[in-house]
Symmetry: C2
Subunit: 392 residues, 2 copies
């Protein structure tokens, strides 16, 4: 079949021929389609599938009646406590709310994601099992990478280390971590546990790091050192890394070179109330930077909707991006770069790749990011799976 | 006529009776409507009209083919130069692009706005005349307050002082200003001019203040001092005021008391790449804080769309607001507070007020801000003027 009159991000016009769920050819636009099953894209822009590099499928309350934020303070530890209360009160399984979110984000063009999943000595592996069910349920629609995430800390929540290990055994792909100093109060003990499991299980690592300033930076550098020492280059990410945006340019430049050498990627969601890492500087020094949604209508944040074009806008807005090349970087963070971090070699819009793409009304890539109109089509393996923001 | 089954922000359900373009009664929901012209709102939330406290109708390039940002640096002065180049190349009158923007923002529920209009010794009053035409053209749909804005400075652009004065004579409502130190290099001379015109003409004042730190704060304090000295309390605003977000809590607390006493309001658009004033602290100290869009797809910024519910979200996101009461403050900034600053005593949803309102799918006000769904209806004087984001 064919999708005719597509505008590619470089401005060229093509018809897209699909065979066996893959892009078999890019033809001159408006090639004859007599006798061929064809969908006319009428010049709308075709983008590769969006990739969410950091989501929490088990946390969202999407689809439930509005639940006000209950945190009594502004620290990570306050929000952890508030989430416990919300969790204790909820009666709808995480499978249901997480599925609501998956449907919403697929309709906005995201076909791949990395979800952190809370694990602690109260929850055990309950949330992991819920998200594994979601992954299985939507396996034909989206790929879901799972991070076993110690939301309550590892040392602070005895038994969590064993649970993280068991989570990997049961299907989680990466070992997570959380502010080794700010939450657990012991950098080495926290990282020892995380990296030992990753190393033994052959899993990747993705650590939440909210701690700011030089103290936060020191933790990021410790993660880089362990990554190099264990030969885990390309398999480790630090999420948020607010510290990179709150230290001197000299400090962050030195850090960038270390991160690049260690192959440690940095995830940013374009934080609203925290400092944002200097994305261009990091990229210029060879650091992989990628994007994610983070919290979406959950006990942590009332905001977010999982639309990764909107996320690219928010990242660009916070990073003070204005030029087209800057908006292209923000877009890259939620597509190509995130796909590299998630290990998706087939991602991208090219002949031979899966016929997975998203269409949106825009004349340039920068305009697509800035205006982020409702997605007219989401196509998976040549099949239309969403139209005008609604799953079909 | 009646609008039935409206959910008000307090959660109550009512039918809205409209007579002569005003709300004549709030009746119990689902009152009998036999024989009455009625529109069923089906429980959607009814909000007062949105108010944009800071827009640039003459700058937007909305409706034109995408024009990449051309600024060669990140200073205000670089962007002023870049805008001159864009302006020199444009062939479509500002009336047309500004009208595109008015149509778009009315469709998102904004019925009142304050527009700054560029005036300098190259432009003269050309842009003012374009925006006066827009104001006249849309007079039955929206109210537009106009600020005569010296975008190129006053001292740096000789002749601008006289043009500002003439602008007020020709219909502008307020005298603008721009970084007296950062752009014009002379605090007193800049403010002398602005306040002399305002005082003589009985006009208000709204000054753009990007300068940060204590140097920026000193300028804000000078504005407050002149406001008090001239008895202009309640008629003066400082837009952006990034400095209030970049000084110590002690400094900003002292400043807040001074601003409250002087009746100087603070406008924030929830800046992406600059510091945001501490909105809650200011409000707690009695300072009027209100919101605006600022740049919308123009030579300054690729972002923005004029949706003030989205703006409330962005303000809340940047201010690290998460609780329902915080989201209510962000909403207040783009409705009630902005209406006070713009001098709109009739604004608000109550019996006797004009039947101007907006409907949106949400169960609480906080949810409306966080999810900012497409507006189902925009009603002006009891008449539906937009439906599902499109003008009728």
């Amino acid at each position: 079949m064919r999708f005719t009159n597509a505008t590619l991000p470089d401005g060229s016009r093509h018809d897209i021929e699909v065979e066996g769920g893959r892009i078999s050819a890019l033809l001159p636009a408006s090639a004859a389609t007599a006798g061929i099953d064809a969908i006319d894209l009428s010049g709308t822009m075709v983008l590769p599938p969006l990739v969410d590099g950091h989501i929490h499928l088990d946390k969202t309350l999407l689809g439930l009646p509005w639940i006000p934020n209950q945190s009594t303070g502004n620290q990570v530890s306050d929000r952890i406590e508030a989430e416990r209360r919300v969790r204790a009160a909820r009666t709808v399984p995480e499978f249901e709310t997480g599925s609501n979110l998956v449907r919403q984000i697929v309709a906005s063009g995201t076909l791949h994601m990395r979800s952190h999943v809370d694990i602690d000595n109260q929850l055990g592996l309950k949330n992991l099992h819920e998200v594994l069910k979601i992954r299985e349920h939507f396996r034909d629609l989206v790929t879901i990478e799972i991070v076993a995430f110690p939301q309550s800390g590892i040392l602070r929540s005895p038994g969590t280390a064993e649970l993280l290990d068991e989570a990997i055994a049961q299907g989680a792909d990466l070992v997570g971590g959380l502010d080794p100093v700010g939450i657990d109060g012991d950098l080495d003990a926290h990282l020892d546990t995380v990296f030992a499991i990753a190393s033994r299980r052959g899993a990747g690592v993705d650590i939440h790091l909210h701690d700011g300033g030089e103290a936060g930076l020191a933790q990021i550098m410790a993660i880089a050192a362990r990554t190099e020492a264990l030969g885990l280059q390309g398999k480790v990410a630090v999420s948020h890394a607010f510290a990179l945006g709150s230290v001197s340019t000299e400090s962050v430049t030195r850090a960038a070179d270390t991160l690049a050498r260690a192959g440690v990627a940095i995830m940013s969601h374009g934080p609203g109330g925290a400092t944002i890492p200097p994305l261009k500087l990091l990229r210029e020094h060879g650091v992989e930077v990628f994007g994610g949604s983070d919290n979406i209508r959950d006990a942590w944040s009332p905001f977010g909707n999982g639309d990764m074009l909107e996320r690219a806008m928010l990242i660009g807005y916070r990073a003070n991006f204005r030029h087209d090349a800057e908006l292209a970087l923000a877009f890259d963070m939620v597509t190509t770069a995130a796909a590299r971090v998630l290990g998706l070699p087939d991602h991208g819009f090219k002949v031979g790749s899966p016929a997975d793409f998203v269409t949106v009304e825009a004349t340039t890539l920068a305009e697509a990011v800035a205006t982020r109109k409702r997605r007219s089509l989401v196509v998976k393996a040549g099949r239309v799976v969403a139209r005008d923001g609604v799953l079909v």
